[in-house]
């Protein structure tokens, strides 16, 4: 298999900079800098990538810190550790893999504009914020994230009424709005001057 690889970043090799072009790329060393390839990018178990990766197909067995975007598929194997967003028509995450980030699959291609994505029916596009861990026996999303996802889905469909699960705690992600209206700079001084 190794002989077929057109480009290989060896175990003790460190690349700092951009890698682009066409051809398969196997990373067993360290890469810092963006990677964009027409072909398959494989991050080996010893590979360490701190970069955004975009390719036709991405297979991850090592560590990646950065966003992954594939035109065909992303395959995340059990030994992978990923911190970053995933985007591809098809994404596979093996049990035991660590993924932290936004995951987006579906018919919406990697280069599809945002407006077009909204028109894709919800059944074809599955969208969720996923955090899995090797220790967890099964991916059990927390209540808050379920509510948030439900709220997001409701917003997407254009329904005004919140779902049953969305209580005050679930519906409000940020801090409550300030009770006192925020005054523009200089307003207070102006008021004092008047009195």
């Amino acid at each position: 298999m190794a002989n077929e690889v057109s480009t290989l970043i060896g175990r003790s090799t460190f690349v700092r900079g951009r890698i682009n072009g066409s051809g398969d790329l196997e990373i067993a060393g360290r890469v810092e800098g963006d990677v964009s390839c027409v072909g398959e990018v494989v991050v080996d178990a010893s590979g360490l990538v701190a970069a955004n990766v975009s390719a036709t197909r991405i297979v991850v067995r090592g560590a990646v810190k950065g966003d992954l975007a594939a035109e065909e598929a992303i395959v995340i194997e059990a030994t992978a550790r990923i911190v970053g967003d995933l985007r591809a028509p098809r994404i596979a995450i093996a049990q035991g893999a660590l993924v932290r980030g936004h995951v987006q699959t579906g018919a919406a291609g990697a280069a599809r504009p945002r407006a077009a994505q909204a028109q894709v029916p919800a059944a074809r596009t599955s969208q969720a914020s996923v955090t899995t861990r090797a220790a967890a026996p099964a991916p059990a999303p927390s209540k808050a994230s379920t509510n948030a996802a439900a709220a997001a889905a409701a917003k997407k469909n254009g329904t005004a009424s919140p779902p049953r699960g969305a209580t005050l705690a679930g519906a409000r992600p940020g801090p409550p709005p300030p009770v006192v209206p925020v005054l523009k700079k200089g307003t207070k001084a102006l008021q004092k001057k008047r009195h």
């Binding site: 190794a2 690889v5 057109s6 480009t7 290989l8 970043i9 060896g10 175990r11 003790s12 090799t13 460190f14 690349v15 700092r16 900079g17 951009r18 890698i19 682009n20 072009g21 066409s22 051809g23 398969d24 790329l25 060393g29 800098g33 390839c37 027409v38 072909g39």
Partner: protein, 104 residues
């Protein structure tokens, strides 16, 4: 079997540091530092300073080459830059423009 290969269709812009062999078949711009052998194959383009062990060039190199062993400019090679090594061969058919420094 080389440990690091930069394939024919690939371009790397930046710094490559390696403790093992590096074979360049594609394009590399920036800097190349290797502890072991560096091979620039025919058709490859290196626009970088190269510091390595034994260096064999059959492609194009623009930049200074410094080796702690030997530098071989093979037939078809095109090198613009200074070469510093203790042993140098320039084959018939190799193009070379630059200074040679064989530290004696």
């Amino acid at each position: 079997m080389a440990s690091t290969v930069i394939g024919a269709g690939i371009t790397i812009e930046g710094e490559v540091t390696s403790d093992e062999d590096v074979v360049v078949q594609g394009t590399l711009r920036g800097k190349l530092v290797a502890k072991d052998a560096v091979t620039v194959e025919a058709g490859a383009t290196v626009e970088a300073d190269v510091a390595a062990g034994p260096v064999a060039v059959a492609g194009s190199v623009t930049g200074n080459i410094s080796s702690n062993d030997r530098v071989d400019l093979q037939n078809g090679a095109k090198v613009i830059g200074n070469v510093k090594a203790s042993r140098i061969t320039i084959s018939d058919g190799a193009q070379f423009k630059g200074n040679v420094d064989m530290d004696v």
